[in-house]
C-alpha cells in the first residue's frame, strides 16, 4: 500500500518563483524515506503542501489513499509533522502543548492526557512537563515537537531537518527512537542535510533539486551507482611525493595524507601491499566523504540551472 503519492505537483509562488516543477514520487507504507536536496530545492514547499501549510498550484497528493483535494481532513489526520523551526507557543507548558494539539484533532482531554504522558516519557521529557516550552534546551524542544506530532497517532510521520543543530548523542538517540517507530510500522519521511543520517536510517530516497526530482530509488540501488570512492590514508612519516601504485589514482594532499581513488569493486589489499613495499606505514584509513554525499553532490551538480533548463 502507498503511504504517500505525489503526481506532477507544481508550486509557483507570488512573484513567479517556481518552487516545484512537476514532481512525482511514491512512498510505500512502512518505508523510512529520505527527501534530500540542497537549500531552496523545494523540499519544504513539498512538505508544506502535503501538510496543508502551502497551497499547491497544480498536481495531486494522496496520503494513505486519501486525496488532498477531496478528503483534506482525512489526509491531515494521517500525518504528523515535525517542522524545521520551533513552532509552538513558547509560553505554554510542555504538557499543555501536547494536550492542546490532541484537542485540535478532536481527541478528548482524558485520552490526550494519557497519550501526552506516554510520549513525554518515551522522549525523556516527562520531568519537564510543567515547564514553559521556552525554558527547554534546543534538543528538548525538538523532542517536544516529535511528541506533539505523534500525539494523534498518525500513519505517516514527516520530519523536516529533525536533527539540525542537535548534538551527536541526542541525534543518535533520536535515530534509535525513529527506527523503533518505523519497525512498529510507522511510515517516516524525513528531509535532512546529514547524508549519513539518510544512509543509515532510510530505505527509500528521493533527491530534489531546483524543483525537480533528480533521483528516486532506494538507498542501496543509489549507492550501487557510485563508481569511485576516495580513501584518505594518514601516514606515520611525511612524504615528498605520492607513490605510483598500479591503476590507482593517488595524490598527496599534504606530506602526511594520501588520497586514493578506488574504482567500485576493486580490492584495496594491493594498495597496502605496495605501500608496505615502499616502506610507507599507514596509521589510519577513512572515506574522504560519506558515500551518499558523493553521489548527492554529483547528482546536484549535474542539475545546475542553465544546464538542464
Amino acid at each position: 500500500m502507498t503511504a504517500l503519492s505525489i503526481d506532477n505537483l507544481r508550486k509557483t509562488y507570488k512573484g513567479g518563483v517556481q518552487a516545484l516543477r512537476g514532481i512525482s514520487l511514491e512512498v510505500e507504507k512502512g518505508d523510512f524515506f529520505a527527501l534530500l536536496g540542497p537549500n531552496g530545492a523545494g523540499k519544504s514547499t513539498a512538505i508544506g503542501i502535503i501538510c496543508s501549510l502551502v497551497n499547491k498550484t497544480s498536481g495531486q497528493v494522496k496520503v494513505a489513499g486519501y486525496c488532498l483535494d477531496r478528503e483534506r481532513a482525512q489526509v491531515r489526520r494521517q500525518i504528523g509533522l515535525v517542522p524545521q523551526e520551533f513552532n509552538f507557543n513558547q509560553f505554554e507548558k510542555v504538557f499543555d502543548i501536547l494536550v492542546t494539539q490532541a484537542g485540535f484533532y478532536g481527541i478528548p482531554a482524558w485520552i490526550a492526557r494519557e497519550r501526552a504522558e506516554h510520549y513525554l516519557r518515551r522522549l525523556g521529557l516527562w520531568e519537564k512537563r510543567d515547564n514553559a516550552a521556552r525554558t527547554l534546551s534546543g534538543g528538548m524542544k525538538r523532542r517536544l515537537m516529535i511528541a506533539r506530532a505523534l500525539v494523534h497517532e498518525p500513519e505517516v510521520l514527516i520530519l523536516d531537518e529533525p536533527t539540525a543543530g542537535v548534538d551527536i548523542e541526542l541525534r543518535r538517540s533520536m535515530w534509535e527512537f525513529l527506527s523503533e517507530l518505523n519497525r512498529r510500522g510507522k511510515t517516516i519521511i524525513l528531509t535532512t542535510h546529514y547524508l549519513e543520517e539518510a544512509e543509515s536510517l532510510c530505505r527509500g530516497i528521493a533527491i530534489i533539486d531546483h524543483g525537480v526530482i533528480v533521483e528516486n530509488t532506494n538507498v542501496r540501488a543509489l549507492l550501487e551507482k557510485l563508481q569511485v570512492e576516495t580513501l584518505v590514508l594518514d601516514l606515520a612519516q611525511p612524504l615528498s611525493q605520492a607513490p605510483e601504485i598500479g591503476e590507482f589514482s593517488i595524490h598527496l594532499r599534504d606530506p602526511r595524507t594520501l588520497e586514493v581513488e578506488v574504482p567500485r569493486g576493486t580490492p584495496i589489499n594491493e594498495i597496502f601491499l605496495e605501500l608496505a613495499r615502499h616502506e610507507i606505514p599507514v596509521m589510519s584509513l577513512r572515506n574522504k566523504t560519506n558515500r551518499l554525499e558523493e553521489l548527492f553532490m554529483r547528482l546536484v551538480e549535474q542539475n545546475l540551472p542553465g544546464e538542464q533548463y
Binding site: Y13, G48, C51, S52, L53, V54, N55, R72, A73, Q74, R76, R77, I79, L81, P83, E85, F86, N87, F88, N89, Q90, F91, D96, T100, Q101, G103, F104, Y105, G106, I107, P108, A109, R148, H152
Partner: protein, 257 residues
C-alpha cells in the same frame, strides 16, 4: 470530524484562549479595571458633579453603560488581534492548520475566546461601577443581546486585523487610530442629541453609537437612537464581518502561502 470531535476542537481553542488571558491577567484584566476606575473617579465623580444631569440621570450613571461597552469593545478586539497575531508570529498557527479542524471551528474558537475576555472585563468594570453608582437593568435581554453581539463583532474585527497584520505595528494601528476615536465619539461621554444636526448626522455613521446606545437603553432605558435599528445594525455588521473572516480563512489569506 464528528460533531463531538468538532466540539472538542472548539473547546480546546476556547480553553487555550481563556488560559492565555488569565495567565497574563496583569496585562489583560488589571489595566481596564484601573483605567475605568480612573474614568469613574475623574469623569463621573469629580467632573460629573459639575455637569449635573444628562438624559435624565446624573452624569456618573449616564456614562457607566458607555464605559462598560468601551472596555468590552477594546478587550474583545485586543484579545483576538494579539492572540491570533501571536500564533502567526510564533508559527504556532501551524498546529491548527495541519489538523483536520475546519476553518469555521478555528474562527468560532477565537471569537469565543475574545468574547470571554471582553465579557469578563465588562463584568469586572460593572462590579467596579457599583462602588460609584447604583445600576439597575431596565431591559435585561436587550442589555445581554447588545453586549454579546458587540463583543462578537469586535472579536471578529480583531481576527481580521490579525489576518492582515504582518508586524506588531499593524495590530496597534486600528485600535489606536480607528477604534479609540470612534469609541470616544460614539456617545460614551455625551448624548449625541447635544450635537448640531450636521455632527449628529455624522455621528449616526459611527457604528459604536448604536452599540453604546443599545446598551444604555438596556441598562437605563434611554437611547439617542432607535433600539431596533441599533440591534439590526449590530447584527448585520456581525454577520457581514463573520462571513468575510471565514472567507479570508478559506482563502488562506495571511496564513497559507
Amino acid at each position: 470530524m464528528s460533531w463531538y470531535q468538532l466540539w472538542v476542537a472548539f473547546g480546546t481553542i476556547v480553553v487555550k484562549e481563556v488560559r492565555r488571558f488569565l495567565r497574563i491577567w496583569p496585562q489583560t484584566l488589571l489595566p481596564p479595571a484601573i483605567t475605568m476606575t480612573l474614568y469613574f473617579v475623574i469623569f463621573g465623580n469629580l467632573i460629573g458633579r459639575r455637569i449635573g444631569e444628562m438624559g435624565g440621570f446624573d452624569y456618573m450613571q449616564y456614562i457607566v453603560p458607555g464605559l462598560i461597552m468601551m472596555s468590552v469593545i477594546q478587550n474583545s478586539y485586543g484579545n483576538v488581534v494579539s492572540s491570533f497575531f501571536g500564533t502567526k508570529f510564533q508559527h504556532s498557527i501551524e498546529e491548527m492548520l495541519v489538523s483536520p479542524m475546519p476553518n469555521l471551528v478555528i474562527l468560532l474558537g477565537f471569537i469565543a475566546g475574545g468574547m470571554a475576555r471582553g465579557l469578563c472585563v465588562g463584568l469586572i468594570v460593572s462590579l467596579l461601577a457599583l462602588f460609584f453608582t447604583s445600576l439597575h437593568m431596565e431591559h435585561a435581554w436587550i442589555t445581554v443581546l447588545v453586549v454579546v453581539l458587540t463583543s462578537a463583532l469586535f472579536s471578529i474585527g480583531g481576527f481580521i486585523n490579525a489576518i492582515f497584520a504582518s508586524k506588531f505595528d499593524d495590530i496597534a494601528i486600528v485600535p489606536t487610530f480607528i477604534l479609540t476615536p470612534l469609541t470616544y465619539l460614539g456617545g460614551v461621554f455625551y448624548s449625541i442629541d447635544m450635537l448640531s444636526d450636521f455632527w449628529r448626522g455624522v455621528s449616526m455613521l459611527n457604528p459604536i453609537v448604536y452599540m453604546v446606545n443599545g446598551f444604555r437603553y438596556g441598562v437605563l432605558g434611554v437611547s439617542d437612537v432607535n433600539v431596533a435599528a441599533s440591534l439590526v445594525t449590530i447584527a448585520l455588521m456581525t454577520l457581514a464581518l463573520f462571513c468575510y473572516a471565514w472567507w479570508l480563512l478559506h482563502r488562506g489569506v495571511g496564513i497559507r502561502q
